[in-house]
Amino acid sequence: MKPLWLIATKEFSDRFRSGWVIACTAVWLGAIALTSLFGLAQIGRIGVQGYERTVVSLLNLVQYLVPLLALLLGHDLMVSEREERTLALIVAGGTSRARVLLGKFLGGVLTLAFPLTLGFAIAGTAIGLAAKDRAVGSFLTLALSGLVLGVVFLAIGLLISTCCRTRVQALVLALLAWCGAVFVFDLVAMGVVLSSNSAQAALEIETATDAMHVNSAADLHKAFAGETEPRPAHAALAQRSQTLASWLLINPVDVFRAVNLPKPAALAVPIPLATASVLLWLGLSLGGGIWKLQRIDL
């Protein structure tokens, strides 16, 4: 346990010294503040709104930015130690490769959790005070699931970092993974489902990916404001909320969206299944990373 913690705290301290943590905190705080203030501009509202409406605005930000930050952090964790040849010295000293990888992961989690938690805490407090809103549940769900989303992508980044020989290679692969998870997966899934004439599943995909589209996001806000009726498709979907949208579980970003979509558009992704999906991604990424690392000649 001690080597693991030593490696983790060194990683956090290195990132802090290099300015990564501070830069990440600044970017995150800036983005979260702008989104909270201007996220409802599409329906003509400026300023801090209640928690539930802010959550809809923040959905886009979290689903794009958190996986990107996590992958940018994770892709560098192992490959830099290999390139600098410090990994050989650590392993030769009697620290197992699995401990090195888990220590790096833990250090990455600390590094990522610091700015994210700080951003959510400050934004949550500001919203609570400015909007005098006490229904903090949806915001807490967003914050917690956003952190989990980051941790999953950090593990994926670490796997990429372990499999690549150079930092450039790892960076390219990490960016491709981000594009794949955030943009490409939904398009491919939609195409596959539509081509197989599964209309209901296509509707579910469309709903879950609505948060990607500005106009649809505006519709979701309106649904909250009670200014219009929810789209018929959403209403019909809510009635079938028990449908198991198993395809959602493949992509952590879609799991995150499904967990956080507001009630009118809610999809039934049971929490135990969402948790199992997250654990599976973590297990595969970390297990795969350890398996690969043990087969690398240093």
């Binding site: 600098e84 040849r85 010295l89 650590i90 030769a92 000293g93």
Partner: protein, 246 residues
Amino acid sequence: MNACLEFNQVAKRYGSVRALAGVELAVAAGSILALLGPNGAGKSTLFGCLLGLIRPSRGEVLWQGQPIRDADRRAVFGYLPERIALYPHRTVRDNGLFFARLKGHPPAELERQLKRVGLYAAQDRPVRQLSKGMLQRLGLALALCGQPQVLVLDEPFNGLDPALLDGLQGILQEEHARGATLLISTHTMSAIEPLATHAAILLEGRLAARGSLGELRAQHGEDSLEAVYHRIARRQRSREREEVIA
């Protein structure tokens, strides 16, 4: 011979390239083994197999009769790589503390070793500001931390001026005197000859000769380790030429 380390038919291939071809070598406890050979002979690969950095394609390394599979069993080794790689933006002390703590050694032990190699005064300097000789001494201090039972030194004499070389030889003699086993790969025959008790010569991944220094000198009718090495290397080259002609 009371062997503490045994290389049992250790072989390593990188695709079609053969780095080690079934090396069979026993290292006596408390000895200083000089591992000699030209560049690319497989010396660093052999050390890599011992330290868990490289997975042998075949064979295994035994420590006190047991295969070294568990990383914890490698805590008895102190290792100085050929090119020491540390965290350049961190200070000598920070680097030292990180690696010493990983092996479970207290800060006092690091301080003792830094004083021993003459780097204590530079402990607050970032590693990127160190000269090659200072970096080598820092690497040695890290390898010496915790009085390891086996010291594995890969080309430790490279790039050292005569004063540093003399200091390093003194430290290695002290380590030998306290009972440590030393494995040293080098091209600098003049530096290793006064220290080594045994020698092994690797040529193209094969062990061409091994034994105590006295045995090797007597066997090949030479009066220095360097002459023995050149004789064996010449013989190997002429054998290869004959094979090509045949």
